[in-house]
Structure formats: C-alpha cells, structure tokens
C-alpha cells in the first residue's frame, strides 16, 4: 500500500473573516484588536470551529459578529460566566471572552474577580477606552478624575479602577496590557494568553475616537513603554508586577506584567473532566451509580 502524506489545510486569515464588516466608528481602536486576535489564531494554527468567542454588550462586545468562530453575544457584563460554562462543558475548545471596560469592570466586575480566582482557562481581552461608547459617552470605571462626560458634565469625581492591580490581587495567572496601535506586540500577547493554561487577562488600550477626547491614540503613543524592553523586568515576580501596575502618567507600561504556571487550570482540577470533555461523555450514568443512589435511600 502506498504511503500517503496528508497535508492539513492551513489555517488562514480569511477563515476568521466575519460575515459582516465591523460597524465600529472609522479609526476605532477595536479594529486593531480584531486584527491582532485573527493573526494570533492564524499563527497558532487553531481552526475556527475550535474557537469560541464570547462577549457581553457594548461597542467592543460586537466583536464575535466580526470574526468567524463559534460566537456568542450574551448579556451586558455576563461574558465571563457564559464563557466559563462553555469552557467547562467543552475544554477542548479555545475560549476567548471579549468586551469593554464598562462591561467587564463595571456591571460584570464581580464575575471578573471570581473568574480570575477560579483560574478558568479563558483568554479575556478587554478593549478599554475609558468611556461608555454605545450609550453615547458616559463615565466608565476607568475614566480619569476630572474627565467630562455626558453623565459627568462638570467632571468625574470618582477615581478610576486599576485593572492590572485588581487582576494581580484576584489571583489571575496571566496578566498583560497591550495597545491597539502596537499590532505586533498585541498579537504576541494574545498568542501567549491563548497558550497560557489558566485565566489570561489582557487589557488593551483601544481609544474611542468619538467620545473620549482625553485618552486618544496621540495621548497614549508617547507614554506607552514595553516591559519587554526592560531587561531587569521579571514577569514571574508578583511584587515587581504590582509596583509597575501603579505607573500611570508620563510612562505607562504595556506588555506581560505577570505569569505563573504552577496552578492548574480549573478544568484540570476536576476529576470529572479527566477522561474527556463533558460534552463528549455519555449522557447516561452507569447502572451501578444509579443503584447506589437508590440504595442510599433505603
């Protein structure tokens, strides 16, 4: 019998092209994030049917509609529990959660914290534009003090949340920050996040060109400094990460803040999932299990 070499179909950018073009405003930071995610998946050669992209609600949460994968456009703030359920029921899938700062740090913040402590094997990409865009420009949990918005016309008096510090405190095992305009760098972070076994959180500065006149591309560009360019930086050092996370001003670090690989991902800790993904298991229990449940009651 002749030996046959099977050449797999290579995963290409076109596999991930959505059915409709994104309806984000021209120049929106989210375009860069979409391209980086598509590139990361191609570079990792993950076929589109093995990927689930799950979002909440908001401009950036329209993401699953613009990428060809198994997508879910859920409720405002609820991408993470839905993504967790999906991952736990089928851990063979690569599960991405995508959304914005209002969705993830505002209405969904409780789920954000608990997903990190659980170390669910998800990659959570938050397109942070420090404003509510789809509701036409209100203050967000990452809006700076003094920022004038439609819901704070005389200036925001509430301090912003620090997502990197929060993620460190909540026990996330992979924490990074990217910038939408730094394509190659962002793609690399997303690739690392997907490959990381456990919860990977990637905050991405993704400027809103319509409603945020403070934190623009021009504002970020001279400020962002890559942690990878600093040879003294050690991303396995939690304390060092916690210190750098506080930097905000003339210098704002981007890159991989922190990673640890000594904690099992949630699905790896579950004996029930040891042999096969839940969805691939027999829907019927064993006769012995059923009998033992009845015997216990007699």
């Amino acid at each position: 019998m002749a030996t046959e070499t099977i050449v797999p179909n290579l995963v290409q950018m076109s596999d991930f092209k959505g059915r409709v073009d994104p309806d984000w405003c021209p120049g929106c930071g989210d375009f860069g994030v979409l391209a980086a995610v598509q590139k990361a998946l191609v570079e990792l050669q993950i076929p589109n049917h093995q990927v689930a992209t799950i979002s909440g609600i908001g401009c950036s949460s329209n993401f699953p509609g613009f990428i060809e994968t198994y997508g879910m456009h859920t409720l405002h703030g609820r991408s993470l529990p839905v993504a967790t359920g999906m991952k736990m029921a089928n851990h063979a899938m690569t599960v991405l959660a995508t959304g914005g700062d209002g969705d993830g740090f505002g209405i969904g913040c409780g789920h954000f914290i608990h997903s990190m402590r659980r170390n669910v094997d998800l990659t959570y990409i938050v397109m942070d534009n420090q404003i509510y865009g789809l509701t036409t420009g209100q203050t967000s949990p990452t809006s700076r003090i003094g920022m004038k918005t439609k819901s704070a016309p005389f200036g925001n008096v509430e301090g912003p949340l620090n997502p990197i510090s929060l993620a460190l405190a909540a026990g996330a095992t992979f924490i990074a920050r990217g910038f939408s305009a730094e394509q190659k760098h962002l793609t690399e972070l997303i690739k690392q996040g997907i490959q990381h076994k456990g919860f990977s959180f990637i905050q991405v500065f993704s400027p809103c060109v319509t409603y945020n006149k403070d934190n623009t591309f021009q504002w970020f560009r001279p400020r962002v400094k890559k942690l990878e360019d600093d040879p003294s930086y050690d991303s396995s050092d939690w304390v060092m990460a916690a210190e750098r996370a506080l930097l905000w001003g003339d210098e704002i670090p981007i890159g991989k803040f922190f990673e640890r690989n000594d904690i099992p991902a949630l699905h790896e800790s579950e004996p029930v999932l040891a042999n096969a993904p839940l969805v691939a298991q027999d829907i019927r229990m064993s006769k012995a299990a059923a009998q033992s449940f009845i015997d216990e009651l007699m």
Binding site: G71, H73, R78, T84, A89, E270, V279
Partner: protein
C-alpha cells in the same frame, strides 16, 4: 379515614431533632410503611424552635395530617407549645428530670423518662433523645431489633464502644417504657415492601441526574440548597460537573454557556435568586439555548420568611424577563413527582430550545416522602431534539442557526463541529445569526424571527398533557389546586366524602402551557369551584381567569408560612358550601 400514626419531635435547633427523625423514617419505610415528614423550623443554626412531624401508614401518606399521636419534646418550650395538640389516646414522652408537662387534655398519657437514672448524661449528651426513641418504639410495638440495626448504621463511623453504649441506652428506654407506659393500640399493619425515603430537593437532583444533566450550577439559597448538596456529594459518581458560583446571575449564565456547548444544564434557587436570573432567562429564549431552572418557593417578598413555605412566585415566573418568548413552567405535585418531572421537562426544552421552569416550594423541597424505588427510574427516555453533532458531508448547505421553519425549531449544532461556525445572540438576529437589531434593523426580518420563536408554543402545547379531574366527573364542589397542594387536597376530598359532601379535584401540574380550553370543558358542569393555594392574592385563580375568563366561586388561601392541613380545607369548604364566605383564610393553630 386513612390508617396512620403521627409522631412529632420538637426542640431547639442544634438539639438533634433531625437524627431521631431519620431513625424513625428508616424504621417505618423498611417495614413497608409509607411516610410523609415535614420540619417546621426557623432561620437559626442554634436555638429557636424546630418541630418535625412524621406521619406513617400502610397507604400513601400525602401530607402530615391533622392530628398527632405521640410528641417527643426535647425541651420545655416544645412541651408548652405543643402539648395541647394531643387528644385522648395520645401520649407525650419527655425527660422527667428537666421538663414539666403542664395541663394535658383528658386521656393523654404523660410518659416521663427518668433520664439521669437510666443513662449517664455527663458522658452521653444525646442520651435523652436515644432513650426517647427506644421508649417510643416500645410503645408502638415495634421490636427492638429494628432500632438496633438502624443505630449500628447511624454510628457506623464510630468505634464499637460508642455503638454499644448507644444501643444500651436505647434498650434502657425501650425496657423502661415496656414496664411503665401503656402501649399504643398500633393501628398500622406492616407490609413486606421497602420504600426509599427522600426529600424533594434530593428527588429533583436525582431526576436531573437521570435526565442526563451534566452541568449543575448554583448559589446557596434556602430552601433550594439541598439540590446543590445532593449534586456536590454524588456528582463524581455520575460524571456531573458542579459549580458553586458567585451569584445567581453568574449561575444561570454559566448554565447557559454549558448548555450552548451541548450538555444538559440545570440550576436551582429560590425567589430572590430567581429574580437575579431573569435577564438571562430571556437570553436562553432569544439565543434558543435550553436550560431548566428550579424555583423552590419560600414566603416572600424580599428576604421574606426563608424557612417557610408559600406558592407566591407564580406571577414572577409568568412575567420573568422582558419581551415575549416561549417558556415552559411546571409544578411538581409531590416529592416523587419532583423526580419524574425533571426528565420530562428537559425533553421538552431540548426539543423546543427554550427555558423551562420547575416551580417547587419549601413544603416539597425540604419535606420527606416514602417512594417506591421503582418510581426512581434513572434511565428515562431522553429526547435531545434536533441536534447536529457531526459535519456530515463536506458540501452541506450553509448552516443557518436560526433557520425559519414551520415548527419554529431550527436544528442546533454542538460547537466544535467543522463548517458550522455561527454567532448566537441576545440581540435580534437573522437566520444566520447576524444581528438585525442595530445598524441592520429590518422590520420584516424581526417579525419573521419573533413569529418563528413563538410558533414553538404550539409544539410545546401538543407535547404536554391536559389536566384531569380526580374523583367523580360531577360533584357539588370542585377543588382546584396546583403543585404541592395536591396531597393535602386529595386527603381533604376523602374526608369531605366521608362526611357526605360530593367533591372532585383538579390538580394543575403544567402551568405553561395551561390548556385553558380543556380546563373550561372540565369545569363546564362544576357547581361550586374553589381554588386552594398557598398565597395571599390567589395567584393561580388570577392566572386562570386571565387565560380562560373563568372566575372561581370561592378561594381558600393560606399565607402564614405553614402548609395547609387537611382540616383547614375541609372546614373552609363547609363554610363556603353554607354560603358564609367566598374567601377562607385558615391560620395555623400552633406557633411553630
């Protein structure tokens, strides 16, 4: 009159009321006796008052009845509250060293046990309880061996010395009662059948496991927490994944994620937790991802009375989440039905890709019932509906997740299958999942998609049986109830018939779809219709009226937190038959 015997044990929380209850339940059910048990308790871990009633007999015991034959008060408070429940022929067994009996009705046997003489209470803190169990069984005429077997099981994790000591104490109580107290004229013959004893919460969990639930998520909330406990303890044996989640919003969204991945997912909660879930209930309907949510109702509103029962959540279920969408709501009729209903509702929600709600309540969730083990069918029919699990041919037609069909059901694909990627969405969408809610708003497509979803209601209605009248087709009184009142109404009917009143009973199990036309046919010749329900406003009576224009003649409502007793219904029916009132509100006679 049903042949039965009722005993009750009361004390402070933490005094050990539950263990004697379990021991009696095991002894009765293994000797072929049916039983029904209900624990009236308070939201307190130590102290307060808890009162467990166990009624047993040779036939099905559908409720805990009206009378008590034997009370075992573990403290003075219980003696003071409950002694007056006993009538001639009844008995009270108590620690004669520390509890004083007070005024008892004529013919009530006072049975003080000299606890400190019979056991060393400094060494064995539960000696009082164990002596009482032994004494009670002696008075009921049940041989000591039955108790010995159960005690060995109860203490099997302890060393032999502990087992021997407790058996000796039980024996001392048994013998003392034999010499000093008058035995009951035991009215209940034993049979050879053995019954399983379980709570509604365990029944719903096991029903879920039988239905093939692979993912169970929950947040602890009384009185639904027992479902979580069962799953947590048994899940690994049945390969079920259990998650305790940070809140009920997370609970239902996680279940939806798991269900979308292709497994059967379920959650249980109570009214407050359900309120948090309602937005996502609409997601289940809109994205067409089937899930089952159990609501174990407790007395509301708000935190309400967490340890007391009510049927006050019906309208919350009917109106849960905004917008119109197909849903299924069913209320189990008894604890055995808590088991059998779950596989049934899962088959319906899987076939019609919509949310299903099981409307249980504390009475069933935390009550206990003897059930023939044959009823607990762990391998019921499973129908997962139209599900695509493999790619089939490479040249299949482009997959449309929300394909417009005559039935309204669009075949669902398990994510991971090649060639079928798509987006499911909480936004309105087109057949292929592309949003038509914002930029692409399209009135015609929106209407078509709405009608597609709502067409599923016809299929659902055809899959659910219409309710049936129990008793004679024609009667002077027709009692209408739903869910957990089934058992107590059934016995009230029997008592009314014994006293010469002709009565029949219409129990409602499927609330949505209701089958209003069939109900109207059944009620066409009814003379006096009375709706019996555990709430203030007559939620089911109002629902029946809204769906069918049928206006009931009378109402029996109870909203004090305790379940109906048969005499509450019997007396109310009699006063309504006499034309005294059209609304009876019985109140519990004893403070529990």
């Amino acid at each position: 009159m049903r042949q039965s015997f009722t005993l009750a044990i009361g004390g402070a929380a933490g005094q050990g009321v539950a263990t004697p209850g379990d021991i009696f339940a095991k002894i009765f059910s293994r000797r072929g006796l049916h039983l029904n048990a209900y624990n009236a308790y308070q939201s307190i871990i130590r102290g307060g008052h808890t009162f467990l009633t166990i009624r047993t007999g040779p036939g099905i015991i559908s409720n805990t009845g009206d009378t008590i034959d034997l009370i075992i008060p573990l403290n003075q408070d219980t003696m003071d509250r409950h002694l007056r429940l006993l009538t001639s022929g009844g008995a009270v067994l108590y620690n004669g060293d520390s509890i004083k009996p007070g005024e008892a009705a004529a013919g009530v046997q006072l049975c003080p046990i000299p606890v400190s003489t019979l056991a060393d209470i400094s060494k064995n803190k539960i000696a009082q309880n164990t002596l009482a169990i032994g004494a009670a069984l002696s008075m009921m005429g049940i041989g000591f061996q039955a108790l010995e077997e159960v005690l060995i099981e109860q203490f099997r994790k302890k060393e032999q010395k502990v087992i021997d000591e407790n058996i000796a104490i039980a024996r001392a109580g048994y013998d003392y009662a034999g010499k000093n107290f008058k035995p009951f004229a035991w009215p209940v013959p034993m049979t050879d059948t053995k019954y399983a004893v379980l709570s509604g919460n365990a029944a719903m969990a096991m029903g879920g496991a039988a239905a093939g639930v692979k993912f169970y998520s929950a947040y602890p909330m009384s009185p639904s927490t027992g479902v979580l406990h069962w799953f947590a303890e048994h899940a690994r044996k049945a390969n079920i994944l259990v998650r305790q989640v940070e809140d009920e919003i997370g609970v239902i969204n996680m279940a939806i994620g798991a269900a979308h991945a292709g497994v059967r997912a379920m959650s249980a909660t109570s009214g407050g937790g359900f309120a948090l879930m309602t937005e996502a209930l609409g997601l289940s309907a809109q994205a067409e991802i089937p899930i089952v949510i159990i609501d174990c109702q407790r007395a509301g509103p708000s935190t309400g009375v967490p340890t007391k029962t009510e049927q006050g959540d019906l309208w919350q279920m009917l109106g849960a989440s905004f917008g119109d969408y197909p849903r299924v709501i069913a209320a189990p009729l008894d604890i055995a039905d808590c088991f059998t209903l779950i596989p049934e509702i899962f088959n319906i929600v899987d076939r019609f890709q919509c949310p299903g709600i099981v409307l249980c309540d504390l009475l069933l969730a935390e009550g206990r019932l003897s059930v023939d083990p044959k009823v607990l069918d762990f391998f019921p029919p499973i129908d997962r509906g139209e599900l695509i699990t493999s790619n089939g041919t490479a040249d299949h037609e482009p997959y449309l997740r929300y394909k417009i069909t005559e039935s309204g059901v669009s075949p669902r694909v398990i994510p991971g299958v090649p060639g079928h990627t798509h987006v499911v969405s909480s936004d309105e969408h087109d057949e292929d999942g592309v949003l038509i809610s914002d930029e692409y708003t399209n009135a015609h497509k929106r209407r078509a998609m709405m009608e597609k979803r709502m067409r599923k209601e016809q299929g659902i209605a055809a899959s659910v049986p219409a309710p049936k009248l129990l008793g004679p087709a024609e009667a002077d009184v027709t009692l209408i109830g739903w869910g957990s009142t089934y058992g107590v109404i059934d016995e009230a009917c029997e008592m009314l018939r014994d006293s010469g009143v002709s009565v029949n009973h219409l129990p409602i199990r499927w609330l949505v779809p209701l089958h209003g036309d069939e109900i109207l046919k059944l009620l066409k010749n009814a003379k006096l219709t009375i709706v019996v329900e555990n709430n203030f406003s007559g939620q089911f009576a109002r629902y029946l009226r809204s769906e069918t224009s049928f206006v009931a003649d009378g109402h029996i409502r109870k909203y004090d937190g305790e379940p109906f007793m048969p005499h509450h219904i019997v007396e109310a029916v009699k006063e309504q038959l006499a034309g005294k009132t059209a609304l009876s509100v019985p109140t519990h006679e004893v403070m529990v």
